[in-house]
Amino acid sequence: MSRSNLPPLRLHVPEPPARPGEEADFSHIDILPAGVTPRPDSAADSATMRDLAYGLVRVLDDEGNAVGPWNPRLSPDVLRRMLRAMALTRAFDDRMFRAQRQGKTSFYMKSLGEEAVSIGAAFALQRDDMCFPSYRQQGILIARDWDLVDMMNQIYSNKGDRLKGRQLPIMYSAKDASFFSISGNLTTQVPQAVGWAMASAARGDTRIAASWCGEGSTAEGDFHAALTFATVYRAPVVLNVVNNQWAISSFAGFAGAESTTFAARAVGYGIAGLRIDGNDALAVYAATAWAAERARTNHGPTLIEHFTYRAEGHSTSDDPSAYRSSEERSKWPLGDPVARLKAHLIAIGEWDEARHAAQDLELAEQVKAAAKAAEKNGILGHGMHQPFATMFEDVFEDMPWHLKEQSAQMMSERMRKWPKPGEGPR
């Protein structure tokens, strides 16, 4: 091979379909119709189902019918509860986003357009299955009927915050809801979920674990460690990758989406991988139930790629119009998860527009009432925080001398600032 005959090397750099000002274009995405992707037995060997990583599990078709082998055949009652949880999540997000804009807290992250991902899963898991979420699965807490006021106290870092105002808003922790403390550091939760599942299996328990991370986050080494441990020990765990097409300003191509799917990562480790319509609550339910059954019957882990779209900015700290076409949201080929589940319920005669509108009003009221209650405990930066001394608690179980000294120092600083008795926050 004579090298002088060779052209110079070139570097390929991924390019999203559309940048600001350009026409949104999802034509490169091949959307399989609902019902066509087969459903193997949940105990089948992963080697027999590699194609699923390149398929797309969908239950709800464009007419709102539930079709195909993955149809979980849920009762109308369960469907309505799922719809309600999704709508409540949306209402909650909406209010808290505005609260941040009103200066009531420092930060917020919506899950708009991705509600099915967490709520479909929460309904398919047992309530005591342990969830290791990223920051966009507030829907799990809501599906598990967690107290909205408790969540808001956390968002406001106020004196009612069980987490003592220590964490950035939305970094919940709710052990009683089997919901692990959210980390600011991406993807650390994924090997943790595997470790929890390994422990559960080692103990002969029946509870399984599940984790969630974004498609961008799959690049972190922790993700790989998790999949390696999961395949080695066949841990009873469901690993969810929420492919909402964007990290912050970086589209999924910078995590490898140009060359294959994220479900295909599972193939690389010889574990089951499902690629599903993440805007289809029934597909999410069905896939999660399948993976949970697989895990619970000692057939090992499953990775589920939820193909969805982040309809809002990454967080309150960014403006997506600076890096993507503003048309994208409306052109997203898999529609809106709330609208789709609603259409299904209407199609089967179990719901109607009027009930939906009434429910939306009711949920908005519920959220508003919760916000009012939470705000009574204070909003960020107005002094109604947990007592100063709590800062030094929980670093260790017992407080060592140096933290006691530092705590005393802080209290003496407080005295300088607010020398009069009763003055200032405590």
Binding site: V13, V395, H402, R416
Partner: protein, 342 residues
């Protein structure tokens, strides 16, 4: 200061300008990191660079800090001069092995075959309600690692000159940018209006190329009675407290923690006989410990009082109690009282 025309810049603009000057002058300078390309970085420090210098010199990367630094090491082995960004210093830990075991060690272990001219930029420090994972000051982890330099600017002027020097340096540099003062100096009074950089003399940034040598501190205020050692945001807080209290103090802006400008420190402390060390990082094992140890080792017989440290507390940076945590004017003031006592 060179004779080039100067404009007022905030620290982000000065950093952006430094990167642009470096890329313009040297084809090997290559920027990479999460969101640094099309978008220009979450703090906009790399805005416009990809447009000017192209997609194979300014890379949006996958979200793997280990990979970002690992790839930068490989690029440096090829002969490039990579300038990776870690989005927040709190997220540098996954890159630690590539930094400590590779970037910092390669010149040594290859006996000079593979020098590593890499400058890792990363916003650090608190004061922006970032909670415990957007507020950390992990500089002491890096100053303990032989083979790494650590640089922390405190003004736009310094940021540009130091960043250019760091990029031109043939060794790996950790360049921590105090994000609290990206947009304006901060005197520590969180309840007073924020000043923009424009009113500060060091926001006048010459266009074009200039460097500030690594390893040289700046004596930003001269006095006789006390030496204050600080860097980054804390330089401004220190200056303001010293003025408020009317203490006749030397205030030393270290600028480079490794290698340290020991001469400036020593001569100041030998003059004043008292020393206060300030940083925002947690106290135990912070860089202040090294400063305190060095000062007492080298100036023991000149010291009239113990070297005092003012630092963040040994807890994570709490979200709602941010200002109770921050080593602000009251804490510094109390320490000054103590160190000046007898």
């Amino acid at each position: 200061m060179p004779d080039a025309p100067a404009t007022n810049m905030n620290m982000i603009e000065a950093i952006n300008d430094a990167l642009s000057v470096a890329m313009e002058r040297d084809l090997d300078v290559t920027v990479l990191g999460e969101d640094v390309g099309y978008f220009g970085g979450v703090f906009r420090a790399t805005a416009g660079l990809q447009k000017t210098y192209g997609k194979t010199r300014v890379f949006d990367t996958p979200i793997t800090e280990c990979g970002i630094v690992g790839v930068a090491v490989g690029m440096a082995a090829y002969g490039l001069r990579p300038v990776p960004e870690i989005q927040f210093a709190d997220y540098i830990y996954p890159a630690l092995d590539q930094l400590v075991s590779e970037a910092a060690r390669l010149r040594y272990r290859s006996a000079g075959e593979f020098p590593m001219p890499i400058t890792v930029r990363s916003p650090f420090g608190g004061g922006i309600f970032g909670g415990q994972t957007h507020s950390q000051s992990p500089e002491a982890i890096f100053t303990h690692v032989c083979g790494l330099k650590t640089v922390i600017p405190s003004t736009p002027y310094d940021a540009k000159g130091l960043l250019l020097a760091a990029i031109e340096d043939n060794d790996p540099v950790i360049f921590f940018e105090p994000k609290r003062i990206y947009n304006g100096p901060f005197d520590g009074h969180y309840d007073r209006p924020v000043q923009p950089w424009a009113k500060h003399p060091a926001s006048l940034v010459p266009s074009g190329h200039y460097t500030i040598p690594l390893g040289k501190a700046a004596l930003v205020r001269e006095g006789q009675d006390l030496t204050v050692l600080a860097y980054g945001t804390m330089v401004h807080v220190a200056l303001s407290v010293v003025e408020e209290l009317g203490v006749d103090a030397d205030v030393v802006d270290l600028r480079t923690l490794m290698p340290l400008d020991i001469e400036t420190i020593e001569s100041s402390v030998k003059k004043t006989g008292r020393c206060l060390v300030i940083h925002e990082a947690t106290r135990t094992g912070g860089f202040g410990a090294e400063l305190s140890a060095l000062v007492q080792e080298r100036c023991f017989y000149y010291l009239e009082a113990p070297v005092e440290r003012v630092t963040g507390f040994d807890t994570p940076y709490p979200h709602s109690l941010e200002w109770a945590y921050f080593p602000g004017p009251i804490r510094i003031g109390m320490a000054i009282e103590k160190v000046m006592k007898d």
